[in-house]
């Protein structure tokens, strides 16, 4: 009888519990990427932001005050069916996303990796060789819709969405 009530209680708890964080969702990948043990304990959440164009979580690693980790879900649109402006303003009629891991060291990008990409279009943006071009740049270099790094033919919307997101990080 007691077990039954505990089960109902647990069902209630899980049914209404808050969403899983992006860090939890990609814990294994992030652990491997950052070479940090116990990512869930080492990374301390400092901010969570939900905007029309992206959702992201900001973390600090232990005592390393010069480093900031961001795990973000960047919103685009299905089958390349919108312009970057539409994706940004959320005035698009369809929705799509990709998730990234971003590390800043002294405010400069020191790591950028796409954790998940679902769409059949624009997947070239995940290339490690392409994302290398972002290293060493600050978020503010991408503000005012500057295309600070060259785009990729066929991945215009994903690249624009990524750079728009970086620019918005600058303005906070």
């Amino acid at each position: 009888m007691v077990l039954k009530y505990i089960t109902y209680l647990l069902i209630f708890f899980f049914a209404f519990q808050s969403e899983q964080s992006l860090l939890e969702l990609y814990e294994k990948k992030i652990t491997r990427e950052l070479s940090v043990e116990n990512v869930d304990q080492q990374l301390v959440l400092s901010n969570k932001v939900n905007r029309a164009y992206a959702y992201w979580e900001e973390y600090q690693i232990g005592n390393q005050s010069d480093k900031q980790i961001i795990v973000a879900s960047i919103f685009t649109c299905n089958l390349g069916g919108c312009t970057a402006e539409q994706a940004y303003q959320k005035s698009k009629t369809s929705q799509e996303y990709f998730d990234i891991l971003l590390e800043f060291t002294d405010e400069k990008i020191s790591r950028l990796k796409v954790l998940q990409y679902f769409s059949d279009y624009g997947y070239e943006v995940v290339s490690k060789n392409y994302l290398k071009k972002y290293l060493g740049k600050t978020a503010c270099e991408f503000s005012n819709f500057n295309l600070e790094v060259d785009g990729i033919s066929g991945a215009t919307i994903s690249v624009d969405a990524l750079q728009t997101f970086l620019g918005e990080l600058c303005s906070g």
Partner: protein, 379 residues
């Protein structure tokens, strides 16, 4: 109690599917509708023979898709061809299995050739699709099947592998011939038949160098035959006839695209082999070869007017042979074609193009010239 535990685990797994894009509260944004279409004019030019030109609503394709949640999508394409033929070009579900690996099932585009997969009129140069993508790779080539697609971000690799319905080589008569090795044998999901193992299609693409994409693809399997229906396995004569009406088909393609701001280079080469073509021809009276090939190389130069408008000038050199080699004792017909297509496209804005080109075809039978003009849209 068991039910409660089951419910508990179901809810735990549901909570793990949580997502930041709210697919549930804004379902109107989950539906996506797109369209591409092309209207053409083709005029053969011949000094000695009068030939009429053709105006044609070549294709009008509506695309409906639905994003059920972060991990599951449905895509369909319904095509109206030449104004009076209706086909389903794509109808598949895509479901993320684990990070960067998705399952795909339903009617799928066979991942072979630059145009077969990206076939919207704004994606290729020239009014008509390259002839190699018609007679050698039978675009739009689609099949019903299941498989996976995935990305390796660190290696800049995309891969796809599917098991698909096979091609059909015999349906109360031969479907393979020297002039069209595989085009007539697409089953297109029109109550496709299957007797043995399905066919296999796979592609490996590398996109790690800025502006460059190269890929290799394979399609292979035994073809299907209508003679397999109700076949009495104790009747050796009938079994032999049914076996002779099927062949083993293998196709390999290498393709690449290089893009800079003003310049694009596309190249593609396909080699196909038909094993058992000798027995097939003996039984069906057809004349299909044992191998076929086709390749093209296409440089294009873009003059940007602004971010949306541009002129594209291109020239495509193609060679293809629908019967490159034959089985012993079979007649080798001269089926080699050399094609030079040159022209331009003007993009009025992103997704709207006007095209014009001139096509010269050399083969054994004739030296043919065609003027083509058309419009294309994709939105």
């Amino acid at each position: 109690m068991r039910l409660s535990i089951f419910l508990l685990f179901s809810l735990i797994s549901l909570s793990l599917q949580a997502q930041r894009i709210d697919f549930e509260s804004e379902p109107d944004k989950n539906l996506f509708i797109k369209l591409y279409g092309e209207v053409h004019f083709n005029q053969p030019i011949n000094k000695d023979v009068r030939e009429y030109g053709v105006f044609d609503v070549h294709r009008l394709v509506t695309l409906f898709g639905y994003q059920f949640n972060k991990n599951t999508q449905f895509v369909s394409e319904i095509e109206f061809e030449h104004g009076d033929e209706i086909f389903v070009e794509q109808a598949f579900i895509k479901h993320k299995l684990i990070s960067n690996i998705s399952l795909r099932a339903g009617m799928i585009l066979v991942p072979m050739g630059i145009v077969n997969v990206n076939h919207e009129p704004t994606a290729f140069n020239g009014v008509e699709r390259p002839l190699v993508d018609k007679y050698i790779i039978p675009s739009t080539w689609r099949s019903i099947g299941i498989g996976i697609s995935g990305l390796l971000p660190d290696q800049s690799i995309k891969y796809q592998a599917y098991i698909l319905e096979g091609m059909k080589s015999y349906d109360d008569g031969a479907l393979l011939s020297s002039s069209s090795p595989v085009r007539q044998s697409r089953q297109k999901g029109l109550t496709s038949i299957n007797t043995g193992l399905p066919s296999l299609a796979a592609e490996l693409e590398y996109f790690g160098v800025s502006g460059l994409k190269v890929s290799a693809s394979y399609f292979g399997g035994q073809t299907e035959s209508s003679l397999n229906n109700g076949l009495d396995l104790n009747n050796a004569q009938l079994v032999m006839q049914a076996d002779s009406s099927m062949v083993r088909l293998r196709m390999f393609t290498l393709q690449g695209e290089y893009n800079t701001d003003n310049f694009t280079l596309k190249a593609q080469a396909t080699y196909g082999s038909i094993i058992d073509s000798e027995n097939y021809n003996l039984f069906t009276g057809s004349d299909v070869g044992s191998a076929f090939y086709g390749f093209y190389i296409e440089p294009a130069y873009h003059i940007m007017k602004d971010e949306q408008k541009k002129w594209t000038f291109f020239s495509r050199f193609s060679m293809y042979d629908t019967e490159y080699s034959v089985a012993e004792d079979s007649p080798n017909l001269n089926t080699q074609n050399t094609v030079l297509t040159s022209g331009f496209g003007y993009y009025f804005t992103k997704g709207v193009v006007g095209k014009m080109d001139f096509q010269q075809i050399w083969n054994d039978a004739q030296n043919k010239q065609i003027f083509n003009a058309g419009i294309g849209v994709w939105f």
